[in-house]
Amino acid sequence: MKFQIPIGPQHPALKEPISLRMTVEGEVIRDADLRLGYNHRGIEKLAEERTYLQNIYLTERICGICSHSHTTCFVQGVEALLEVVAPRRGQFLRYLVAELERVHSHLLWLGVAGHEAGFDSFFMYTWRDREVVMDILEMISGNRVHYAINTLGGVRRDIDEALRTKILDSLGILRARTDYYFKLGANEPSFVGRLAGVGRLSKEDALALCAVGPTARASGVAHDVRRDDPYGIYGEIPFEVCTADSCDVLGRTVVRIKELGQSYNIIEYLLRNLPDGPVAVKAPRRAKPGEVVSRYEAPRGENIHYIKANGSDKPERLKVRAPTLANYAATLAMLKNGFIADIPLIFAAIDPCICCAERTVELIDGRSGRPSQVRWSELRRMAARRAGRVSKKRNMEWPL
């Protein structure tokens, strides 16, 4: 007997709205379908009517968790268009924040994975330790989530010697705790039993479906933009691309844990070799006509911005492809023939950032010409009408 289970737009496992429809047979998923567009904000259209400077803050708001990824990707591109180069200290600070963001995002993901698997103690501990890196970010930039540290031609804030020492100290704590809790998590049989062998994505599928980031790397595809297409100062930083061959959720966990270690190393390298000098240079407001493709390795994978300039202080076109969108096709492949119980884990394992992937369309009142303010009574009537339709439909599919 087959029936459909809606996961989302509102579902406790999803912190953001997305709609997945699962056709299940007993506990086994036979088919999965995806519907985007619940939360579109029209950022690409909006970017065409804002200046480059304002667009930094707009791209920052594409996503909360990887806010620095989008601004850095955008700023890198615009700096190329404006023909300015950020000073070295500015670049070091920019990628320092980028790696700190990767640490906080991966720790966040570990906690979420624990929560989706019902392992709340693990969730609480990892999130408690994530506060360490959140505090560092707050001290550097003045805010916990939207750091707003990038500007055209560099970064906006400098760090002093005291803060540098403090970050280096905190790094030791983070390293020790990450190792410790990883050991504990990997030794808990019920947790490992939930992760191993779940959500398989073979290397061929990962390549064919153009998966990115830890999702692809856990399937043995060693793609990392920081190494493949080095941007900024990544060409001179020593680090490894972490991969795993198990092709399952456990592999994705292992890849992220290993990347945490690599990020700690990169942060240490950046802080120990921090050059002196200014953190920003003056940038012009207008860009010559041209186009640029900017790529960036966000915590979730490859982030790509295509910016086309038309000679004014506003971009002609800004195309944003967040890593999550690239992983959706792979997710649908992973979900098939899994268990209902594994849906949250598989879906969480790509570290979905739904607001990243949903960014393009206007949500203005002009939707189908309906008035924007609907009377309460009418709303109830509409809801009743819709509910009536739904229940009839459900009776057809749901013969109980």
Binding site: S121, E138, M139, A186, A280
Partner: protein, 152 residues
Amino acid sequence: MRIAGFVPELLRHLFKKPATVDYPFRKLEVPKDFRGTPFLHPETCIVCRACERDCPAEAIEIVEVNAAEKRFKMTIHNDRCVHCAQCVDSCPTDAMEMDDKFEISAFSRWDLKEEWEYVRAVVKPKPAAPAPQAAPAAPVSPSPVKPSESET
């Protein structure tokens, strides 16, 4: 793989102080450069409108009240503000500043708007940072005071 490997860690925490803070009753300190809510020092504002132009959220509005007296009115729409502090960076005379308040919810969006009415100041822009967006962050005083007497 160990059975119950997590238990010693859990028991260790049973008698430790909780990591969380009893929030509305006890509060954590914010760091010294925290980006709170923007406010204006009207005595140094030269009405160059750099903040109004650069604000990504269109949260700053400057209107002329009286052209002869050079009186202007600035409204900061805190209900739209995204707290990016670009206005602070853009300001050539350090007239904009951020305070460290973060508990800024209100029952009505009207309560969040703040207004200043003032005479345009004659101050020389700081020579060090002619380009507003390229300047490093302006130093924020650790405990700024809200200008209450100049509010209308």
